[in-house]
């Protein structure tokens, strides 16, 4: 099968932008004093083509997958934790469940390629491409057909969802390795800079991880374009997230991007269709080495910087109330004229 790239419109609209800026600048506050929230408000207005922003049926998708490279000891946790954490999420006990309950997000876990079988569950979307990727130090992580299947499955999931905002998170032991490899190969960032401690490697373990990742890099000299790189060294959860993000943007939905792994999916999506970035809100900067550089590469300014490194979508949902505030401030604040407040210029 071949994944057909969905058409994504840029959000650029000079007249609407001027209207939105005027509205924001005439609220009862000094011009620019809401800082980054003003940029978010503008982006939301452009995405929704309106100066009144509203959100409906917010969705949280957690894409889970296993990674063959985990066998080489690149993670502090054993591979079985992926399936265990999926179980924890389905039981409602993970961090992302707590935050989804707090903020009223409908949470679903996507089995994109976990190395175990699951029973049916109302919050589980079964889209397993395979029982984990192949070890990319020895072979391509996935075949071209598997890659396209994953991308299409991501797009299909989004098509089936209601609402106009989707938060993207993930779970997968060893997936910071995959994200580091994607980041290194698709940008000018060195492998050393891209590689971090993940869930908590010690110094010697980090050195080992770097050596293993270098083997992967050397194994795939010909993987250059985004799809080649994803097939060679990516993950099923990352590829499916990429397809889902592209589909979400094509439907003008707001995309909440979590941390390093979701950022890697965004990087690949941007490589395929640059205007997908218009729909993305980068929610937080994780403690993971590489994520800061990834955000800089994308010229993205995240909303939060709390030294977190959990994934799952936690950074996305923690930032969500700020996105909501940006919308509400634009919708609800009085203007200088309506409130009878003197403006700076008289």
């Amino acid at each position: 099968m071949t994944f057909a790239l969905p058409a994504i419109e840029p959000i650029t609209d000079v007249r609407l932008e001027a209207k939105l800026r005027h509205k924001i600048d005439h609220k009862t506050k000094p011009v620019g004093s809401l800082g980054q929230l003003e940029d978010i408000a503008l982006q939301l207005g452009l995405i929704q083509r309106s100066d009144v922003v509203s959100f409906k049926d917010p969705q949280m998708l957690v894409f889970a997958g296993d990674h063959g490279i985990a066998a080489d000891g690149v993670s502090a946790f054993p591979q079985e934790v992926t399936v265990q954490m999926v179980g924890n999420m389905l039981a409602g006990g993970a961090a992302i469940n707590v935050l989804a309950r707090q903020h009223g997000f409908h949470l679903q876990v996507v089995d994109a390629g976990v190395a175990a079988n699951f029973d049916d569950h109302p919050h589980l979307i079964k889209k397993k491409v395979a029982h984990g990727t192949k070890n990319c130090t020895k072979a391509a992580a996935m075949s071209g057909d598997e890659l396209h299947t994953a991308l299409q499955a991501g797009a299909d999931i989004v098509k089936s969802l209601p609402g106009n905002i989707i938060a993207f998170g993930e779970m997968g032991i060893a997936n910071t390795s995959s994200a580091a490899l994607l980041l290194h190969r698709l940008t000018n960032i060195t492998l050393k800079d891209a590689t971090g401690r993940g869930t908590g490697l010690t110094d010697p373990q980090l050195l080992h991880k770097r050596k293993v990742l270098m083997l992967a890099v050397l194994r795939h000299p010909d993987a250059v374009d985004p799809l080649q790189v994803m097939a060679a060294m990516g993950g099923f959860e990352i590829a499916m997230m990429t397809g889902a993000m592209l589909q979400a943007a094509s439907q003008r939905r707001v995309i909440l991007v979590d941390g390093f792994i979701a950022g890697a999916a965004a990087l690949v999506a941007q490589g395929l269709s640059p205007q997908v970035l218009h729909y993305m809100v980068f929610c937080h900067r994780s403690a993971e080495r590489g994520h800061r550089l990834l955000l800089e590469h994308l010229k993205a300014r995240p909303l939060l910087d709390l030294d977190m490194r959990l994934g799952e979508g936690t950074g996305a949902l923690l930032a969500w109330p700020l996105v909501q505030s940006a919308a509400r401030l634009m919708n609800e604040m009085a203007s200088f004229a309506s409130a009878g407040v003197s403006n700076k210029d008289g």
Copy 2:
């Protein structure tokens, strides 16, 4: 009258701290991976003396006051904006109203010393000490008696409020001048570093503000301790906030500290009773020059850094969902044992 400093207990409790750390570290996540939220969870548990944190009747207090120094042209906005913005807040149109509605805070505006009279209003607390401070380039901003009246009024307000969490914000044209003067005199921070653009001064206006503030500094060479400095160069809204913060801490309430002005009140409170800091969550780092240095002086790490400079308490309420998340994650997340998830160490 003389304000009696309320007794504030330190939150230190070695056994409880160990219990809280154990609980946080055995949640289904890598140790430390919730970053700063783990520190907040620990602080909340120590404040509430429990490993289950709950919030009741959250209160937002906006202290408003006018400043005699406004007559010297230190603000981009005219002084009448203080009273106009109080009106805007009572009508529900200001940014802080939007955020209080979003997060279910009970908002009250305190007239600590606005240079105008207000009709009664259900959301207005009338504690006017005087119609604005005196111009501190020419005289003490307030008398000793006025200072103590303001501090006591702040404490009395808090005593009358229900709940266990209070957010502190302010409104007052020229109050970044007062905050800069307090910061400079009470720390080693230079007047130049302490002084910023406030609501949006141009370069020449900023130079003028610095000159005016230097006159104030030179006018009060003998003001050294926190109360002397507050009387000489403070503001009624800042002093009342200081009294309110001290009272809130004495009742073991969580204190959400907004930006530069609220930070200056916190600085004075800390000068009077250092353990007040145990109860404070520093919510955001504002774009105002000086606020970053103030936070560093207090060794405070704020939750948000969104380039905002609005005040009113907006930074406090924007950070509130993160505080709530910290509590919920500690309360609700599963442990490795309860979820049957393998831990790092086997």
